[in-house]
């Protein structure tokens, strides 16, 4: 089982790296935010898998904090951090 946990953790990490392309590319700020939101969820899954593989039990608590903060980041983004005027190429 341990091999499966670690393999899946690496697989999810590769997914995360692929998602990085969307953060760099955009085109709108919202797209970048969506990608980081997916990173948060993937990170939760990776941490839980590593904890189950017996790396370090406290990783479950780290995952819990990630899950808690995920909601806050989105609200903070929409209310405060989304620029009112995007660059010209961003709206299409």
């Amino acid at each position: 089982m341990q091999t499966l946990y670690l393999t899946l953790a690496v697989f999810l990490l590769l997914n995360l790296a692929a998602g990085m392309w969307r953060v760099l590319r955009g085109p709108t700020t919202a797209d970048r935010m969506l990608a980081t939101q997916l990173f948060g969820t993937t990170a939760v899954a990776i941490l839980l898998l590593l904890a189950e593989a017996g790396i370090y039990n406290a990783l479950r608590d780290v995952a819990l904090v990630f899950a808690l903060l995920a909601g806050v980041t989105a609200v903070a983004f929409v209310r405060c951090a989304w620029p009112e005027r995007e660059a010209e190429h961003d709206t299409d």
Partner: protein
């Protein structure tokens, strides 16, 4: 390997496939709204299946409860995010994709 092990391996694998689909959707879909659709699938179903798989392996009820709590928090965050971002994007006139 016991039957529980097989069941949880299956759940973990299907969960990972949902994450792959979510990432592919995020990369390939044409606008914010469709990408939002891909993202929420990975959030809810992908993590849900992985957490179910791990909860089957958990030795105590409290451990499984913690995993379910994490899942509920992610679902709450995911649905709030989807709603807020889609509404705000519409208000700001981010164009909806048509063919």
């Amino acid at each position: 390997m016991t039957l529980i092990d097989y069941l949880s391996s299956l759940l973990l694998l299907v969960g990972a496939i949902f994450f792959l689909a979510g990432t592919l959707g995020l990369l390939r879909f044409p606008d914010v709204y469709t990408r939002l659709h891909a993202l929420t699938k990975a959030d809810n179903v992908g993590l849900g299946l992985i957490i179910t798989g791990l909860a089957l392996q958990s030795e105590s009820l409290a451990g499984a409860g913690k995993l379910v709590l994490i899942w509920l928090l992610v679902i709450l965050a995911g649905s709030t995010t989807a709603n807020l971002i889609a509404k705000e994007a519409l208000r700001r006139g981010v164009r909806v994709w048509k063919q």
